[in-house]
Symmetry: C2
Subunit: 230 residues, 2 copies
């Protein structure tokens, strides 16, 4: 499962009313891509028109997304895309650290298939190359596939879902930040350590390396956000 393709379900273009889960997936994707920005209100009327559903349905979809943590709700004022405070970012970061660490542990505990081994090696090689060539965009893309692969191999549905939600509010910031090549060398060293531990099947090392990696990322993230927003 690749969480960057949450809403890659095909459009139903037959004039039929889209399913509730379909609409939810599309809104999630919009939030993820930043089409719906943090703090932006989602007006029921707009959702109704945009997705071609009734208002009752729209309200239920929005309430579900509130429950999942994508949206905030305020009485008589509807919903808006969840905003991130400085403290919230820190809180998320610490939880994300241990969850991503667990993903690495679980992945390392599993016996990799040959295909998984070569996929991992290929992604690592691509990141090495991108680091060498200071190609931030390629690195960012490979970075995503790297983390996704680990979560996929970890094969824990609870972890997958929680991590998806934890990643949403910081994804945009990470994206902007990723074009800073300054940290690329350090980040790739982390990746190499993680990759090695995974291929060795060393769960302790994999978890420790991943936690260090995420912790450093969190520190950069908070610093970056502070520079942006004061």
């Amino acid at each position: 499962m690749n969480f960057y393709s949450i809403a890659m379900t095909k459009e139903i273009d037959t004039g039929e009313s889209p399913t509730v889960s379909n609409v939810m997936a599309r809104i999630r994707q919009h939030i993820f891509e930043g089409i719906y920005a943090p703090g932006q209100r989602l007006i029921e009327k707009d959702v109704v028109e945009e997705y071609g559903i009734g208002r009752g349905r729209a309200r239920e979809v929005l309430k579900s997304l509130v429950g999942e943590g994508y949206l905030e709700f305020e009485e008589n004022r509807g919903v808006r895309v969840r905003r991130l405070t400085r403290q919230g970012a820190i809180d998320i970061g610490r939880v994300r650290e241990v969850i991503e660490g667990l993903a690495a542990r679980l992945a390392a505990e599993r016996t990799f298939t040959d295909e998984e081994r070569s996929t991992l090696a290929n992604i690592q090689a691509e990141m090495d190359r991108a680091t060498e060539e200071r190609d931030a965009e390629t690195f960012a893309h490979a970075n995503r596939r790297f983390h996704d692969l680990i979560v996929e191999v970890a094969d824990n549905s609870v972890l997958t879902k929680q991590l998806e939600i934890l990643r949403v509010p910081i994804f945009r910031i990470q994206f902007q930040q990723s074009f800073t090549t300054a940290s690329m060398g350090e980040r790739n060293k982390d990746h190499q350590r993680i990759t090695q531990a995974l291929l060795d099947g060393d769960a302790d090392a994999a978890e420790a390396a991943m936690r260090d990696h995420v912790r450093r990322g969190n520190a950069r993230l908070v610093e970056f956000a502070d520079r942006l927003f004061g």
Copy 2:
């Protein structure tokens, strides 16, 4: 914040329609207490009558709880209390292990107030006494307060919410199991280690001890559930 008192909000008995969040809290509490058993369907009409709200509202409340993970939804068949598969219990257990571990770490990183220190010491003393006297009920109660205190001191809103949801589906099983005095000695030894690490402010030790403790609990839980359900 004590997550066992989620729905302790007072009844509004004025004939007024209860607030949405109030109803949600009460349903959560019912699920937690097992009044709504896993797999049990929640019929919209019943919810409407039970809580005195309109059906539209009821549907939105239920959809929110689906989003939060308390309920499962199936098209044209409504919602039911989330069921737990064997694999699901294992997946939850592994995530819970690292989250509770993080709670212990965060708690240990904080400087305890005198009041917190004495509260912790009192709970530990109560558990020691209960273990000595093989008083399973007292032990179970103190055990809850112990884990709640740590989460509260950890003071991380993301952690608090995630842990609350993770605990729901296994709470009932833990409750039945808690009257088994067999593991009480072992469990209290774990608690002592955790308490000591917390009072020492040793974050590494606190996290490690808590993770070991939860991992052992998970193992007992799965074994217990297997005996129950085959």
